[in-house]
Symmetry: C2
Subunit: 210 residues, 2 copies
Amino acid sequence: MSDLIIWTYDWVPKGPRGFVRDLRLRWACEEAGLAYSVRTVPFDGRETNHLAQQPFGQIPFLSDGDLEMFESGAGLLHLARKAESLMPRDPAGEAQTVQWTIAALNSIEMVTVPWWFLEVTGAENNGLSDWAKSRLGQLEKVLSEREWLVADRFTVADLLMADVLRVAKLRSYGDRPASEAYVARMTDRPAFKKARADQLAHFAAADRSR
Amino acid sequence: MSDLIIWTYDWVPKGPRGFVRDLRLRWACEEAGLAYSVRTVPFDGRETNHLAQQPFGQIPFLSDGDLEMFESGAGLLHLARKAESLMPRDPAGEAQTVQWTIAALNSIEMVTVPWWFLEVTGAENNGLSDWAKSRLGQLEKVLSEREWLVADRFTVADLLMADVLRVAKLRSYGDRPASEAYVARMTDRPAFKKARADQLAHFAAADRSR
């Protein structure tokens, strides 16, 4: 068994399958050729049953031998330090990979996830729509000028940004052709496809034993 | 002149003074005893006038010699690699510092900033209130059991979490005594006080020349 363990739920409803964030860590390991196993905590009672591992009751978290960490972004940066295929080793490449990884979390997802949260609870054109559209417009400009976010090559920042955009249901925000092409390119990568298929199979197997 | 340059606006209105995010980088440099200078981009026209440095039109960004990076979280992690006073050097201490830095940005600020944004635009008890209260309740539990987030000592994760909670106007969310005491402890640190005083002086000087 590998030292790397990706922790996820034992089961989730059909809706989020293919989007559960263990996919980010699976995808990174697949890109880097890092061996890993997947273990689970119960979905039922998730609010309180694994707070020692994840104080907000979420998944994924990552074990690497004695190390354990939550936050998918932190897990991605940890994996990136293990594999040059996920992050360049020169100071500028590393700084920009960290920068764009955090931008995906704190400049894009910080707007798109609450916007989505309000939308699914009923407010179609809610108070965050203009903010979300503005941020995605600024990102569209960046993605219209380059193929990758950092150093003219794939990094963990692309992995995360593409996943954030994918989850945000990009098309809801209007016509963003460069961003859509970017997501299509990233999700066409074999490592993404394997990670997604493995996640779907994991939860489908749970259906059968449930 | 130091190689470290913190970039902020040349001026901001009175409301955000003391909360502008260059304070995070100033605070970290003060904690670590890192020499730095402060330079500015114009507040007027900020939406478009420095997109080459910050594609979302925000500040701060950080220069370190030839390196340049935006996202205050990325700047903090960069400074933390330069100074052990900001982050332990053992793998577990480093992993947990990165984890809690990202938790401050992606588990707390991702909820509190959009909540605040909706509140200031008029929706007092808006669709994000329950989510914000839940997250802050989970964090309250963590902070009621420990003095520091990581390794029983101050790290850049405490700096960022305290700033996120401070900006979120913690008291709005109900009675969270451990979180309030935590913010009070962190903002009582001389490095915070100097960073805040320097920011207030910077913008006050801009008033006089405006």
